[in-house]
C-alpha cells in the first residue's frame, strides 16, 4: 500500500466516477430483472458480451462506428431477449427461484459456447481513435472513453427512468414490480410486462457491451466478470432502482479506482467485493432501494 499524491488521487476519483457510468449501463438490465421480476438473470453477462460482439460485427463488416451502432445493437438485443423470455423464462414464473436460476445459467453456458463457435475464442476489441484518447477535465487527464461512457450512461439511465416513471408502460412495470397479483387483477398483462422489461434490460446490456468493447478487450468468457460487477452495482444502488443503479455504478467505480490507486490495481475487485459484502450486511436495500421502490 502506498498513499498516492493528491493529483493522482483526484485523477483516480474522476476517472472512477466516469467509469461508474459504464458499470451502471452494464448493470441496469440486471437491476430491472431483479427488481421487477425477482429474476437472478445469470445470462446477463453474456447479453453484455453479445452487445460487444454485435458492435464488433457492425464495425468490421459494415464499417459502422460503435457509438452509431448502439442504435442497432440495443434494439437487436431487445429482439433477441423478448422471445427468449416469453419462450423459456415466462413459463417458470411462480415456480420458485431454482428453475429460472438454472435456466439462465444454462443459457449463459450456451451463450459462451455460441460465441466461441461464431467468433472463436480470440481476444477482441473495438478499435477507434477516441477509445484510446485522453481528455483533460479541469486539469486532470482521464480516458475519453470513460467520459463518453458516462455521457451514454446518463442518456440511457435518464431515458429508462423517464420510461418507468412517466409512461403507461412504466406504470405497468411499476405495478408488476410492486404486486404482480394485484396488477394482474387490474388488467395488466404480467407476462408481457415481464418480457418487455427483460428486453429493455437486454438492450441496456447491449449498450454496455459496446462500451466495454471500446474501453477494454473482450472474449467469449468475459461476461462473467460483468455479471459480478453488476451484482455489486445493484446491491450498492438498490434493487430495481434505476437512478440507484447509476449511483451504485459511480460508487463502485470510485471505490475501485481509488482503492486501485492506494492498494494497487490488483486489489480493485477485492475492494469492490468487500464493499459489496459490507453493503449486503449493513444496508441490503442499497442507497436508493427504499426511496424509489
Amino acid at each position: 500500500m502506498h498513499l498516492p499524491g493528491g493529483h493522482t488521487l483526484v485523477t483516480a476519483l474522476v476517472s472512477g466516477a466516469l467509469l461508474g457510468g459504464l458499470f451502471a449501463v452494464t448493470a441496469l438490465g440486471l437491476s430491472l430483472a431483479l427488481g421487477v421480476m425477482r429474476l437472478i438473470n445469470l445470462v446477463h453477462g453474456e447479453l453484455v458480451i453479445l452487445g460487444a460482439y454485435l458492435g464488433y460485427v457492425l464495425l468490421s463488416e459494415l464499417g459502422l462506428d460503435p457509438l452509431v451502432g448502439l442504435l442497432v445493437v440495443a434494439p437487436a438485443l431487445a429482439l433477441v431477449a423478448y422471445p427468449l423470455h416469453r419462450g423459456l423464462l415466462l413459463p417458470l414464473v411462480g415456480k420458485g427461484q431454482e428453475a429460472p436460476l438454472l435456466t439462465t445459467f444454462g443459457l449463459a453456458v450456451i451463450g459462451q459456447n455460441l460465441f466461441i463457435q461464431l467468433f472463436h475464442a480470440d481476444t477482441r476489441s473495438l478499435s477507434r481513435s477516441y477509445a484510446t484518447a485522453p481528455i483533460g477535465l479541469g486539469g486532470y487527464e482521464v480516458p475519453a472513453i470513460y467520459a463518453i461512457s458516462f455521457a451514454v450512461a446518463l442518456v440511457v439511465v435518464g431515458s429508462v427512468h423517464l420510461l418507468v416513471q412517466r409512461t403507461g408502460v412504466g406504470r405497468e412495470i411499476r405495478a408488476a414490480s410492486e404486486d404482480p397479483g394485484a396488477a394482474a387483477v387490474l388488467g395488466v398483462d404480467i407476462g408481457r410486462v415481464y418480457a418487455r422489461t427483460y428486453a429493455l434490460g437486454a438492450a441496456c446490456a447491449g449498450v454496455g457491451g459496446v462500451l466495454v468493447g471500446l474501453a477494454f478487450a473482450f472474449m467469449p468468457t468475459t461476461g462473467t466478470g460483468y455479471l459480478l460487477t453488476g451484482f455489486a452495482v445493484v446491491v450498492l444502488g438498490g434493487l430495481g432502482s434505476v437512478l440507484g443503479t447509476l449511483i451504485g455504478g459511480i460508487g463502485l467505480g470510485v471505490i475501485e479506482s481509488v482503492g486501485g490507486a492506494v492498494f494497487g490495481d490488483g486489489y480493485r475487485d477485492f475492494i469492490g467485493l468487500v464493499v459489496f459484502l459490507a453493503f449486503l450486511a449493513l444496508r441490503p436495500q442499497g442507497v436508493l432501494g427504499r426511496a424509489e421502490r
Partner: protein, 399 residues
Amino acid sequence: MRIGARQVAVVAVLVLLATGCGKDGTSAADSEIVIGASIPLSGPLAGFGSFQRWGYQHAVDQVNQAGGLRVGDSRRNVRLILLDDKTDPNTTSSNTDTLISRNKAAALLGSCTPSLVVAGAVVADRNRVPMVTGCAPLQAFKSVKRWQYVWDVFFDEPDLAEAPFKTLQGAGVRTNNKVAIVHDNGPDGAVVGGQLWPMLAERYGYTVVSKQSFPVDNTQFNSLISNAKATGADVFLIDAVTPQAVTIRKQMASAGYNPQVIVAEKGAEPVQFAQALGNLADGVIVGGYWDSSFPYPGAAQLRQAFERETKQTYSQHIADSYAAAQILLDAIGAAGSTDATKINDAIGRTDKTYVVGPVKFDDQHTSKLPIAELQWQGGQTKVVWPNERKTGNLLFPAS
C-alpha cells in the same frame, strides 16, 4: 440350482458382447496410435491454443497422408484427440486423465503456459505416459519436479528477459534509462517481471523506477499505468496474457502514456494482439523463438501451409507445437512400439534439427530454443534482434 434357457441366452449374449468388444478394442489399438492433448481452445489463452491445434494436427496429418507412422514392421495411422482445457489448470488435469484412462492415449502433447502445461504434465508423469510439450518456459518447467516422462522444448526465461536490453543495446537507441515494469503474478510473469527484469535492468545501466504486479485475471490497469507515467519511464516492460496486454496498451494510450520502448511479453505474441489493437500494436516488442525466415528445414513451408489453410497470419506457436508433435511421432517410430518406456527412452535420445532448430534434451528433460526479438510493424512481426536474423529495423520510438 436350475439354469433356464433365458439365463443361458443372457450369458451367451454377454459373452458375445464381451468378445466382440474385446476384438474391436484390439483391432482399434492395432490399427491406429492415439495421441492426446489438452489445449486452451477457449478462455484467455485461446489465442495460443488455436495455433497449437493447427501445429499438432498438421504434423499428424502429414504422417497419415504419407501412409501412417512406421512402427516396427507395420505402418499405422495416428489419431489425434484434442480436448479444450478452457485455460483452466484443473480442466487440463482432468482432460489429461481422460486422455490416458478413457482414450488410451499412447503419448501426449502439452498445453500452453507453465500453469497449464504443468497441470497436465504432472498427470502424465504420474501415469508414466510420455509427453512432449512446447510453450512452457524452461525455468518454470524445471522448477516443478524432476521429470521422468515429460519433455519440454522452449525458450529459457533468462534469455527472454535479457533480449529487450540486448535489442536496445544493439540498436544503439538512447532513452532516459528509466524502466517501469508491470507483470502478472503467474509463474512466468513473477519470474520474468518480478525477478529477472529488475536484475537485468540494473546490469544494463537502467534504473527501475516502478515495479508493479497484478492478478492474472485483472481487467483494469489505470493505476498501474498512471504510476508508471508519473515516473516518466521511457522503457515500459509488460508481462501479461493477451486480453490484459490489449487492455493495458489501450489504457496507456488513453492515459497519454507514450514511452519510447514498449515490451509486452506473452500477450503480444499472437496475431490477435495486433488485430485487436490496430495501429496501437505498432512498435510493441515481444520475445520470440521462431520466425519463418529462420534457416531451419521446413520453416518457410510451415508458414505457407498455415496461411494457405487458415487464411490467417501465422504465429510462432505453430512451430513449437508442430515440432513437439514431430518429436513425439519420430520417437514412437524409433521405439518401434507403443510401449511407454520405449517411447520415453526414444524421446530422450532425440538429436535432430526440426523446424524450430536443433533439439537435444538435457538431463532435466529440456531443450532450449534461442531467443529473437520481434516487433509489431504494420500488422506483421519483424525480427529486430539478433542482427544476423533481422527482417526489419527497430521502430523507435515506439509511440
